[in-house]
Every structure is written in structure tokens, then in C-alpha cells.
């Protein structure tokens, strides 16, 4: 990023405290994911006191059905939840952007085949397809990540395709062509770098969805195995307790989930304001 665009980013941020807040929350989340497991007061997978204790000074988020400290579990879970979402989005960012850009740039059959593939994925309600993929590939964390990447694939393809096809006849592409560069070279060196800013906005927006998707899958018992701390599975563990009034077991992991999704959505909107001022809302 050049000095001018950094200054531009700072200008947009200064007029938009919400985005600044989102960047702060993002730093907090990433910090928690990296340092959290080392800082927690109790072992997240071992009993730390009597079971079903309401929040207290010793256990700020209370304890769960087998006496584990909910606070330590919520903090320690950040790494797994963010990790799954980041991994899924990284995969779909790489694959989706590349195939989408190729479809938009080459057109013709490439475009038709890739478009049909994306349409077929879109023919399913996305969460349902993710369930089916995890059921078919096997009930593991890796497959949750793969399934989340696959259901996001059409979105990336669609955006990258549109952006690439509008740049197909751009002056700098023609210039590269006249300079004797091959089509593959133009795709990788001229088209893709120009797609990156708009795709980064998408990355941030889909991170929130990816977290919800992964947590939803583990909520219904897929992928993450107990006793591993993970927000979705913790809400599931608290579900039976909430009917008898022990609200804290499900509430805190649920809130953590919401804050994470909220952060990524805000961040996405903020990044969009910086990258694409025309779509500012």
C-alpha cells in the first residue's frame, strides 16, 4: 500500500469511528486467539470447581455441567473458532478468486463450466450442503473447514468473474498484450493484483459467515469432539442446562460468537468504504 492510500485509509477511518472500533476488536480477537490459551486461569478441559456454579469472582462466567471454568473455555476456544474460519476463507479465497478470474478473463467454455459448477453449489441451501459434505467426507474439523470453503466458493467466483470480465479490455491489459505477454501472464500479473482489494473486502465479510457456519456445524455435533473448547459445541452443551435456568453456560460462548461475527462484518463494511468509496452506505 502506498503512502497516499495509507493516508486515504487514515482519512476514512478518522471520519468513521465504527471502523476504528472494528479494527480494535479484530486486534483483540486475534490477540486472544494467539495468547488466550496461555493466559486462561484454569485448564479449559479439566474440572476447576463444583459443577453448575453461577458467575462469581472466582469463575466470572460460572462453571459448566462437569465443573469446568466457562471463562477459560470461551477464551481458549477463540483459537479453534478463528482458526477454522481463517483456514476456510483462505482456501476459498485462493481457489475462488483464481477460478472466478479465469472464468471472467477467458470467457467461453471456461466461463460456462465454472459458472455451471458454481450454480450447482448454489442450488442447495448452503448450510445443508455443508452438512452433506461433512457427512460424506467424514466427521472431522478438517472437513468442516473444507465444507465451509466449498459453500462460499460461488460467491468468490461470481465477484472475481465480474471484476475480471470488466477488466478484460482495459487499457493496461491491451498494453500488456501488445508488449507480447501471454494470456496466463496477463491473468496473474495484471488482472489478479487488481482484484485483490475488492476480494479482501469479501474475505472480511465471509469470515463472519464462516465462523457462524463452522459453529453451526459443531453445534449439531459435527467435527469438533468434546471436550475440546469451541463456541458452537459449548452453546450445545449449555442448551440442556438453559431449560433448568443455568443460562451462563450457553450465553457466554454465544456472545463470543456474536462479537466475532459482528467484528468481521463491521470490518468488511469499513474495508469496503476504503477500497470502493462508491458503495459507501
Amino acid at each position: 500500500m502506498s503512502a497516499a492510500s495509507l493516508a486515504h485509509a487514515r482519512h476514512v477511518l478518522s471520519g468513521n469511528p465504527v471502523t476504528a472500533l472494528a479494527f480494535g476488536l479484530f486486534a483483540l480477537l486475534v490477540g486472544t486467539a494467539i495468547l488466550g490459551p496461555a493466559l486462561v486461569p484454569f485448564d479449559p478441559i479439566a474440572a476447576a470447581g463444583p459443577a453448575l456454579q453461577p458467575p462469581s469472582a472466582r469463575h466470572p462466567f460460572g462453571t459448566d455441567a462437569i465443573g469446568r471454568d466457562v471463562f477459560s473455555r470461551v477464551i481458549a476456544a477463540t483459537r479453534l473458532d478463528l482458526g477454522m474460519a481463517f483456514a476456510a476463507v483462505a482456501i476459498v479465497f485462493a481457489c475462488g478468486t483464481l477460478t472466478g478470474a479465469a472464468a471472467g478473463f477467458f470467457g467461453g467454455w471456461t466461463d460456462r463450466i465454472i459458472g455451471r459448477l458454481a450454480d450447482t453449489i448454489m442450488a442447495f441451501p448452503l448450510f445443508v450442503l455443508a452438512m452433506g459434505i461433512v457427512a460424506a467426507l467424514g466427521n472431522t474439523v478438517t472437513n468442516i473447514v473444507i465444507a465451509t470453503a466449498v459453500v462460499n466458493f460461488p460467491l468468490y467466483v461470481r465477484i472475481a468473474r465480474t471484476e475480471a470480465s470488466t477488466r478484460r479490455g482495459a487499457g493496461y491489459v491491451e498494453a500488456a498484450r501488445l508488449s507480447g505477454y501471454g494470456e496466463a501472464h496477463i491473468l496473474f500479473r495484471e488482472i489478479l493484483p487488481n482484484l485483490l482489494p475488492i476480494m479482501m473486502v469479501q474475505v472480511s465479510l465471509t469470515l463472519g459467515y464462516a465462523i457462524l457456519n463452522c459453529a453451526g456445524l459443531s453445534f449439531i455435533g459435527l467435527g469438533v469432539r468434546p471436550p475440546a473448547p469451541e463456541w458452537g459445541i459449548m452453546v450445545a452443551e449449555g442448551a440442556s442446562a438453559i431449560i433448568s435456568g443455568e443460562w451462563w453456560i450457553a450465553l457466554f460462548p454465544g456472545l463470543a460468537l456474536m462479537i466475532a461475527v459482528f467484528t468481521f462484518n463491521l470490518l468488511g463494511d469499513g474495508l469496503r468504504d476504503i477500497v470502493d468509496p462508491r458503495r459507501r452506505t
Binding site: D119, F124, P125, F127, M131, G132, A135, G138, A250
Partner: protein
């Protein structure tokens, strides 16, 4: 004319339906490990596994397997559920009305709440309702549906005691109404069973609300945006200049036109709803096809899961078709360009 349009759209949806079948087939054949060994059980001998492999047709080429799969599909054979011991198709048919009733009620709630919120927000930009709309649109998409459901259970069942226990479609004392549509709310009214209707309504309110809240946000945001655009257009100014009352202008002129983009987002909203439906059904022990698939998944019973994924794929494609046709009914201009 309309029939021709329907036929054309149906033909255009065929490749997508074929795609659904192919994906479901691939998911069947990608079972973890060796399906033959899985079905034979851990104590089976090598011959028994081979026998089952031949029986399942797994020793044939992928193309032949696909043809066999198509033949089974044509007969309506989706396999047997190990958990319930019933054919998957009859299980799904029996449970589909529960899911449909829940999803449609949630959609109704989301559409009513989302559209009125969006309209009111657009009438006074930057007023308090507009700000509320913005907050809901931002927070609503962050809410995990299963978490909202649990919060509502805690508040309305445990704290206030207004809602019944979140366990299924009817309370323990009510018998299901005679089967007509499979929708308990409608069937109980048709049979004149007021008590059953009240019980069914009390049971469905919370799950439908938790599912609907999820969809209010996108609908409200789109309605607000398109309503703002329409309200500043020339024909609204003309209607105002003719001295029509504010109510007539907003409802008869502006809203009708502003609803067009809302209808197109219904497809995305349905994708959300049908997915979140699975989570809500698990939270409320709702006996629909979502909880059926979840129970089967946990028991490593794969035929129901695949049947479920395919049913949902088919339903979703047909819903999108219906939305497309609805759009044409609302906006006749589409005929000219089509």
C-alpha cells in the same frame, strides 16, 4: 402465455436439478472409508464384505453405479434409515410438513416485520426507526440462529413461563389433528379443534420467531433501500402533486414498486432459512426433516442425510422457480425483455 413461461422456466431449471442429483450421488459414493465394510459391520469376514460390495453395486464402474442410482431414484427409493428402520422417502414425507410449517411461518413473520420496518425507516431517514433498522440490520446477521432460540427459551419459558416446554409440535396431552395438509395449525382449524390449535400455536411461536429474526435483517435492509429510491422518483412526486393522501402514495404506489427487489432477495433469504431451520429444529426438538438428518448424522446413518440434502436441493430449486414466477406476476415488464 403464463403456462408457456412456466414451462420455459421449468426447462431452464432442469440442468440445476440434474446438478443436484449428481452432487447427491457423488456425496453417496464419497462415504468415509469403505461403505461395504461399514455396512457389513466390524465382525464381517472378507467374503461377507465382498458379497455386500456386489449387493450394493460398489464393484461396478462409477457410470454404472450412477445409472443404478438414477433407477432407484425413479422408483422413489432413497434407501433405508438404519435408525428408524423405515424407507428414507416415507420418513421424509412424514416429517416434511413440520419443517414446512415452521419455515413458512418464520418467513411470514420475517416478511411482515422486515417490510414494515424497512418502510417506516425509509419514510423518515435518520429518524429513530431508521437507526433501529440499521442496528437490527447489523446485529441481525451476527445472530447465530441456535443461540437466539436458546435465549428466547430462557426468557419466555424459564423466566416468564409464557411459552410451553420446547419439545415438539404439541404439548404432551394434545393429540395431532386429523391429517389433511400436515400443517397442525391448519388441520386443527379445519377439524374445529380449538384446544389443539392453541397448543400447536404456542409450540410453534418461539421456534418460528427465532428462525424469522434471522431473516428480518436482510429483508428490512433491502426494503429500506428500495423504498428510499422509489420515494424520490418522479411518479411519487406526481402522485403527491395530484393531492393523493400520504397513505395512498406510500402503500399503493411506492411499496408496490419497492417490493420488487425484496422479492428477488427472497431466494437468498430461503437459503438462510432452510439452513437455519436445521439448527432451530435441533434446539426445539422439532420433529421435522432437519432434526431427522441431524439424528441420523450423529448415528452415522448416511442414507437419511443424503435423502435430506437432495430433498432440500430440490425444494430450494423449486422455491427459486416460484420466486422467479412471482416476480413476473408482480412486474409484467419482465415479459417484454424475456
Amino acid at each position: 402465455m403464463m403456462l408457456a413461461v412456466i414451462a420455459r422456466r421449468l426447462a431452464a431449471a432442469l440442468p440445476t436439478l440434474a446438478g443436484v442429483v449428481v452432487v447427491t450421488f457423488l456425496l453417496t459414493r464419497a462415504l468415509p472409508g469403505d461403505p461395504a465394510a461399514y455396512f457389513a459391520g466390524p465382525a464381517a469376514t472378507r467374503e461377507a464384505v465382498e458379497q455386500i460390495r456386489a449387493q450394493l453395486g460398489l464393484d461396478r464402474s462409477l457410470g454404472m453405479q450412477f445409472l443404478g442410482y438414477l433407477r432407484e431414484l425413479a422408483r422413489g427409493d432413497l434407501g433405508l434409515s438404519i435408525t428408524t428402520g423405515q424407507p428414507v422417502l416415507s420418513d421424509i414425507v412424514a416429517r416434511l410438513p413440520a419443517s414446512a410449517e415452521l419455515t413458512l411461518l418464520a418467513l411470514l413473520f420475517a416478511a411482515l416485520a422486515g417490510i414494515s420496518l424497512g418502510v417506516l425507516a425509509a419514510l423518515r431517514p435518520n429518524g429513530w426507526l431508521d437507526n433501529l433498522c440499521r442496528v437490527i440490520a447489523t446485529l441481525g446477521v451476527c445472530l447465530p440462529a441456535f443461540f437466539t432460540g436458546l435465549l428466547l427459551i430462557y426468557v419466555f419459558y424459564y423466566l416468564l413461563g409464557w411459552a410451553p416446554a420446547p419439545l415438539g409440535r404439541l404439548n404432551a396431552f394434545a393429540a395431532p389433528p386429523p391429517h389433511v395438509t400436515g400443517f397442525f395449525l391448519i388441520d386443527s382449524l379445519l377439524a374445529g379443534q380449538g384446544e389443539t390449535f392453541r397448543s400447536a400455536l404456542a409450540q410453534i411461536l418461539l421456534p418460528a420467531l427465532s428462525l424469522g429474526i434471522f431473516a428480518v435483517a436482510p429483508i428490512a435492509r433491502i426494503t429500506r433501500g428500495s423504498m428510499l429510491a422509489v420515494m424520490s422518483s418522479d411518479f411519487i412526486r406526481a402522485a403527491r402533486a395530484h393531492g393523493l393522501s400520504g397513505r395512498t402514495v406510500v402503500i399503493a404506489y411506492a411499496l408496490r414498486n419497492a417490493l420488487l427487489p425484496v422479492v428477488t432477495t427472497l431466494g437468498m433469504v430461503f437459503s438462510f432459512l432452510l439452513g437455519a431451520n436445521v439448527l432451530i429444529e435441533k434446539v426445539f426438538a422439532w420433529p421435522g426433516i432437519g432434526s431427522y438428518a441431524v439424528e441420523a448424522l450423529i448415528a452415522s446413518d448416511y442414507a437419511p442425510v443424503q435423502g435430506f440434502v437432495m430433498t432440500m436441493g430440490f425444494l430450494y430449486v423449486l422455491l427459486n422457480l416460484a420466486i422467479d414466477l412471482l416476480y413476473r406476476v408482480i412486474d409484467p415488464r419482465m415479459e417484454v425483455t424475456a
